[in-house]
Structures are given as structure tokens and as C-alpha cells.
């Protein structure tokens, strides 16, 4: 048997595509190691999901994911990328589960994201706002959410009893980034969510201001734009400006 055939067979044993031969009892040790390693990875990355679902339910979900998505990357850091989608398929009527998972994953990714010092507010004095583009921290991630997953996450992390899952009256944006060496998150309203997505899409900040002015009038629109920019500077999510 060629080495390639042997390695394909071995992959089949690990992923349960084919049974390992009875003559190789040690194969079960490799199977256990393989599954235990991936389960440990998912348990570590999705710690709050584990606590929310409970260990038994989490193990079932993890086993489903491990069966569906054998790992492909050289680092286990990327293995959990598809787990929120697996959870959506398992818990279609409990959207807070996948949103909790997304938050766990985004915080884990932010923790090892690239180092970029935040822009000092002092440097903004020289910015030509008619043409300025803002560059966000590479650790920033955002998504729209429909449940109180952030409140559940915070309560679990604090060791408090989490609130019952519920839908939010209005969709909100969840914003994740890293400040110094600590991953952070907060929710934002629809106005800031719009501004965030426009900056991420490469729109000039003055164009975003104009949109806000069109919608809320000159005084309120500019005030909202200023408040959003101030919050971004305070959070340290702006790392550069460009023209």
C-alpha cells in the first residue's frame, strides 16, 4: 500500500468514514485523541455556549460539528469558525445560541488579532474631513443580533444566573474588538450600526455624516455623527485615517 493510500485510510478511521481494522486496536487511541482534541478546542472557544447549553447538550452539538466539519487548518484557532452555523441548524428555534457562539468566537479571534495602536484624538485635528477615510482595528467584528445573547453572555461570565432568552424589540449591532490585550464587546443602535458598516465598506466619513444629516436634520445629524466618532475614539477602534 502506498503512503498516500495509507494516510487516506487513516483519515477515514479518524472521521468514521470507514471502520479501523480489528488488527489495529491502537487505532481507537488515535480516534479518541482526535475527537478529544476537537471537543477541547470547541469547549475552550465556546465556553459560554457550553455553560448555556449544559455539558451534555454541548457535547452532542460538538460531536455533530466534528462529524460534519473535519478540521482543515494547521491551527485549531480556526476550527470553531463554522460552529455557530452548526448550532443554528441544531437550535433553529433558539437564535440566542448561535449569537452567543458568534460572540464567543469573535472575542477569541480579537484576542489574537493583529496589534494596531488606536489613533490618538489629537491627530484628528489635522484630518481633512471632506476626504477622510477611517480605518478600524483589525480586531473589530460586528454583526446584527436579534436576541439578548450579550446579556446572557455577561451574566454567565460574572457567575450570575443568566436571564431567560428573549428577542429584542429591535435588532441591534454587536461590536467586538480588543483594547490593549483585552477583548471587549458592546451593543450599538441602528444608527451606529449603519455608520460602522459604511466605514467598513470604505465610505468617507463626510458621506456618512451627510446621510445622518439627511435623515435627522443638520443639528441632530451632526450631533449623532460626533457622538459616534467620539465613542469610536474612546473605544480605541480607529487605528488610522486615510485620504
Amino acid at each position: 500500500m502506498s503512503l498516500l493510500s495509507l494516510q487516506r485510510d487513516f483519515r477515514g478511521w479518524l472521521t468514521d468514514e470507514t471502520p479501523a481494522p480489528a488488527s489495529k486496536p491502537g487505532a481507537s487511541i488515535y480516534q479518541n485523541n482526535y475527537r478529544a482534541q476537537l471537543l477541547a478546542c470547541l469547549s475552550d472557544t465556546f465556553e459560554r455556549v457550553l455553560l448555556w447549553l449544559g455539558e451534555d447538550a454541548f457535547r452532542v452539538a460538538a460531536a455533530t460539528h466534528i462529524h460534519r466539519e473535519p478540521p482543515t487548518g494547521w491551527t485549531l484557532d480556526v476550527y470553531g469558525a463554522g460552529f455557530p452555523e452548526t448550532l443554528t441548524s441544531i437550535y433553529p428555534d433558539d437564535p440566542e445560541v448561535a449569537e452567543l457562539a458568534w460572540l464567543d468566537l469573535a472575542l477569541a479571534r480579537a484576542f489574537v488579532g493583529a496589534d494596531m495602536p488606536p489613533l490618538s484624538p489629537v491627530t484628528l485635528a489635522d484630518v481633512d474631513w471632506n476626504i477622510a477615510l477611517l480605518e478600524f482595528s483589525p480586531t473589530l467584528a460586528t454583526r446584527m443580533i436579534h436576541t439578548n445573547a450579550p446579556a446572557i453572555w455577561s451574566a454567565i461570565s460574572a457567575g450570575d444566573a443568566p436571564p431567560a432568552a428573549c428577542l429584542l424589540p429591535d435588532a441591534a449591532a454587536l461590536v467586538v474588538w480588543r483594547q490593549d490585550f483585552t477583548s471587549c464587546f458592546r451593543t450599538s443602535d441602528a444608527v451606529e450600526a449603519l455608520a460602522l458598516s459604511r466605514v467598513i465598506d470604505g465610505e468617507r466619513f463626510c458621506t456618512i455624516c451627510a446621510t445622518l444629516v439627511d435623515r435627522w436634520g443638520e443639528t441632530d445629524g451632526i450631533a449623532k455623527a460626533g457622538a459616534i466618532l467620539g465613542r469610536w475614539l474612546q473605544d480605541g477602534i480607529i487605528v488610522a485615517t486615510a485620504c
Partner: protein, 278 residues
């Protein structure tokens, strides 16, 4: 260029001991990191590594190079490893005589190779690519194994001997792995130690293991047992002074316990050197 002549005593750098290493002078000659844990874009782990590197020489030990893959090594992985090597300037860069990846699937486990001429050709080619990308000779570690294959052409130690001879790589001799595999497969661990190319050994790993249902398992979750210390004594007598470190990956005790254990290695190595001198 492979570092040579370094014969200090070190520990694996693990999270529970980060603060100890950052706070003060820890009595080790080097620390060993799991390379992949630091092949990240940034954040606290990289910062801690940079700060510890200012105090201690670092050996880089990887688990994902997959030098036994029949479809070759991952050049993107190697480039990323090279970037960390350039930043850290490590004593050694090592990985295992195993495969972890095939055709896009990555097992994240150290899977065994059949010791055939074909596998030797694959390993030789892959180590050649790795050493070209990294710009230095690497060390290859003997793994623990739980399976043997039919129709092999040579023993594991003969395979390692040929690998070193044909690629110029060095050896990271894991004494615990020799004991585990010897027990599981019924070969003589002394014959293994006597058969390896001792002049190629640059580093030695020590660790503990566990008794599984039918085999010993390389768990790194307990102190180095007497059986492994005994083999270390035999190994260090053959190799002469080389870098020695203790691996602990589970049930990690306080650093002081690890340092006490490391002192046993120092005592054994010192006694061996005195015997040679006499």
C-alpha cells in the same frame, strides 16, 4: 544554521507559569514553546513571548509541520513559522516524525508513519523543503505510537538515522516516547537508544505517561517516572551533554515542582558527565 553545543536545562512554557516567568528570574537555561500557539497575528500571547524572550533563550517546538505527509508540506505554514523564527531567533526549531495532514484534512494529532523506503523518501523531501524555507536545520522528534504497520523496511531508530544522514537535520530525542512505544510494541528501549545517531541529538524531552486500557498513552500529565529517568541516564551517557527539558501539558503543577523535577535531570546529567570524565 543548527545551534550546537547548548546543553542547558529548560521547561515548556505553559500558561499557568506565564506570570512566574514574567515576575522574576526562573532557574532555567531555556524555555520551549509550542510554535503554533504563537503563530498568531498579535495580542497578549505574542507580547508575553517577546518579554520572556528578553530573559531566556527559546526553543520552538511545533506540532503541525507534518513532515510525513505524502502530499507534501504546507508552504504557507512554513512561511508563517519562518516569520516567528526570524522574530524569536530560537535555539532550535523542531517538529515530529509523523504526519498530521493529508489532502486538506488536518488531524491535529501526531499520526504514525510506516518505516518504509517510500516514507523515508517523502520525509527527506519534506524536511528539505522545510529547511529551505526556514533557512536552518530542524530537529525531528521521535513520537509515541499506538500502531505498527506490516511490511516496514526498517526500525524507527534506523529511519531516524537515515533521515538525519540524508537531510542534515538533528534529533530531538523524547525518552518518554521511546519508553511508551517500546512498551506498546514490545521492542527493547535500550536497543533504540543504542541505535540512534547520538551525535545528531541536540535536545532531549522528558515527560510522564499514563496507563490506558491496553497501552501506555503519552499524556504529559504526571511527573517523569523512574523508568524514564533510567532511560534518560542511558541516553545522556550516549549523547553527552545536550539541552534537556521537561514537558507537562496537563495537571500542570506549580513551577517550583517543575524546577525540582528539572534538578533531577541536572543531577543525572552531571553524574553522567563525571563518569565520562573519570
Amino acid at each position: 544554521m543548527m545551534s550546537s553545543g547548548f546543553s542547558g536545562f529548560g521547561l515548556g512554557l505553559r500558561k499557568p507559569h506565564y506570570q512566574d516567568f514574567l515576575d522574576g528570574d526562573v532557574a532555567v537555561d531555556f524555555v520551549e514553546i509550542i510554535s503554533e500557539n504563537y503563530m498568531i497575528d498579535g495580542g497578549r500571547p505574542r507580547d508575553i513571548l517577546r518579554r520572556i524572550r528578553e530573559r531566556h533563550p527559546v526553543a520552538m517546538h511545533g506540532v503541525s509541520m507534518s513532515i510525513g505527509s505524502a502530499d507534501g508540506v504546507d508552504r504557507d505554514y512554513l512561511q508563517r513559522l519562518r516569520a516567528l523564527v526570524d522574530e524569536i531567533d530560537p535555539l532550535f526549531v523542531s517538529d515530529h516524525l509523523c504526519w498530521t495532514r493529508i489532502e486538506g484534512f488536518n488531524s491535529h494529532d501526531l499520526l504514525p508513519l510506516p518505516y518504509t523506503q517510500e516514507a523515508l523518501d517523502v520525509v527527506r523531501t519534506n524536511i528539505g523543503v522545510a529547511q529551505d524555507v526556514l533557512g536552518r536545520a530542524i530537529l525531528i522528534e521521535n513520537p509515541s505510537s499506538y500502531i505498527t504497520f506490516d511490511d516496514v523496511d526498517m526500525s524507527e531508530w534506523a529511519f531516524l538515522d537515515a533521515t538525519c544522514a540524508e537531510t542534515g537535520c538533528g534529533l530531538l530525542l523524547d525518552v518518554n516516547n521511546i519508553f511508551v512505544s517500546a512498551t506498546n510494541h514490545g521492542f527493547d528501549p535500550h536497543a533504540y537508544i543504542d541505535g540512534i545517531p547520538a551525535d545528531r541529538v541536540r535536545q532531549i524531552h522528558l515527560a510522564g505517561h499514563s496507563q490506558g486500557e491496553t497501552m501506555l498513552i503519552d499524556t504529559h500529565d504526571s511527573p517523569v517516572p523512574a523508568s524514564v529517568w533510567s532511560l534518560y541516564e542511558r541516553a545522556i551517557a550516549r549523547t553527552g551533554p545536550v539541552a534537556t527539558m521537561i514537558e507537562r501539558d496537563d495537571a500542570i503543577p506549580p513551577l517550583s515542582d517543575m524546577l525540582d523535577e528539572l534538578n533531577i535531570a541536572r543531577t543525572i546529567a552531571r553524574a553522567s558527565a563525571l563518569r565520562v570524565a573519570a
